[in-house]
Symmetry: C2
Subunit: 220 residues, 2 copies
DNA sequence: GCGCTCCTAGTCAAACTTGACTACTGGAGT
DNA sequence: ACTCCAGTAGTCAAGTTTGACTAGGAGCGC
């Protein structure tokens, strides 16, 4: 699963009805363009594709009020709602260390009831621990560690990533158990959307090394 | 950058001359099909694409000795060699937390002289630390942490991933400084390829949760 | 009142990725 | 002798991602 569908479905869902540019702005507000492949082309493609598949209903709308080409507004269908929750549950419970998917899941975690969110994270925890044990218990080949040489460093890397994921997951479970955040069914939901007229704090966060040699090449 | 080009160039380079199926087997031996998108389609596509771009030279070869369709053998050109090292250096020095790219870089780290490998990892370390400082120093918006609510958990997630990456990088630098592994120019290089007739230990590692609900869906 | 730049909103071709499929061989079983 | 299976080697269509491009309106300096 790529994170795109979850991100786009969730963003449209927050507004009830939204056009592509709005989705794009929301995702940028969350910093999603930093940690996922949420670029214009991908967003518009996902919208069209999901409309074709019946997850979104497309309203053809008159030319925008603020310049630019006419825009299309989208709304989740029942099927879209279903798929959104299926993707969300998988993003949170899977022990797959793909951070973009997990991040997207966290972004919408408050759309689930508290108990369910905690249960999904526990499932994730279990998967991470099992994976860790399986790898530490079997990754040294019969011929001895020398037979894989520096390839063992790759295993170390993934083990450390999994351990860090485990710690983070435990901490989040604790915070949720401690009553943090307003979850589904607990009153006025928190909507992480950019209020009108306020500047996006994440659009302007400095990114050290961005243009430097050896810096990250996001989107490559 | 996706990891594919680096992986494929490196795999072909290890053999001097290799056909697609051999590359595919090598990558599977390293477990690359687990932590990257090294699937048959992608591998053959990368080979053809890089041949078209002059990074690889394609020898059209007679039907294989062991059944199956005729195969094409590839060999790095000078330009391919150049690109390989450029990709390798970037994979190791970039602080971009994409683990597949980094893993690929580690897989070929012994193709660099020891001093250079250490220098690249130090560069990576610097990037990770700068990013960490920039984010902790500026991610709380002016309106207070409540204004972003649970979105802050995403930042926590990335910070913890970066911290874990920092620790792993430090440890690897230390091991290299301590003389671990045979690096370029230090004698008989270690070639991580599957010897004839030996069974692949990684092809058969058990993957807990693979088919279970909430398990990872590799390749999605 | 003209050119300039920024913002809005989106399109497009080229490249990449995915999963399923083809086709051929050698050997095991019967 | 015949069928079935595993291994070899690769192709292909459909879907996704990328980065560059289009195009209209608003505000602003001069």
């Amino acid at each position: 699963m790529s994170a795109m569908r979850l991100l786009v479905l969730g963003a449209v869902r927050q507004h009830g009805r939204a056009h592509g540019y709005m989705v794009r702005n929301d995702l940028e507000f969350w910093g999603a363009h930093e940690w996922s492949n949420a670029k214009p082309g991908s967003i518009y493609h996902a919208l069209k594709q999901m409309a074709k598949q019946g997850l979104l209903f497309a309203h053809d709308v008159a030319p925008s009020t603020a310049g630019g080409p006419p825009r299309t507004e989208y709304e989740l269908t029942d099927k879209g709602e279903e798929v959104f929750f299926a993707l969300l549950r998988e993003a949170l419970s899977s022990w797959n260390p793909k951070l973009d998917v997990l991040s997207a899941g966290v972004g919408f975690i408050v759309d689930l009831p508290r108990e369910e969110a905690i249960a999904l994270l526990r499932q994730r925890l279990k998967g991470l621990e099992d994976w860790h044990d399986a790898v530490t218990g079997s990754y040294v080949p019969a011929e001895g560690a020398e037979s894989i040489g520096h390839i063992a460093e790759i295993m170390e890397l993934w083990l450390s990533a999994v351990d860090s994921g485990t710690a983070w997951t435990r901490a989040l479970i604790e915070r949720l158990e401690g009553g943090a955040y307003v979850m589904a069914g607990e009153g006025e939901p928190f909507r992480a959307v950019l209020p009108e007229g306020v500047e996006n704090p994440y659009g302007t966060v400095p990114h050290p090394g961005d243009a430097a040699a050896g810096g990250p090449r996001r989107g490559e």
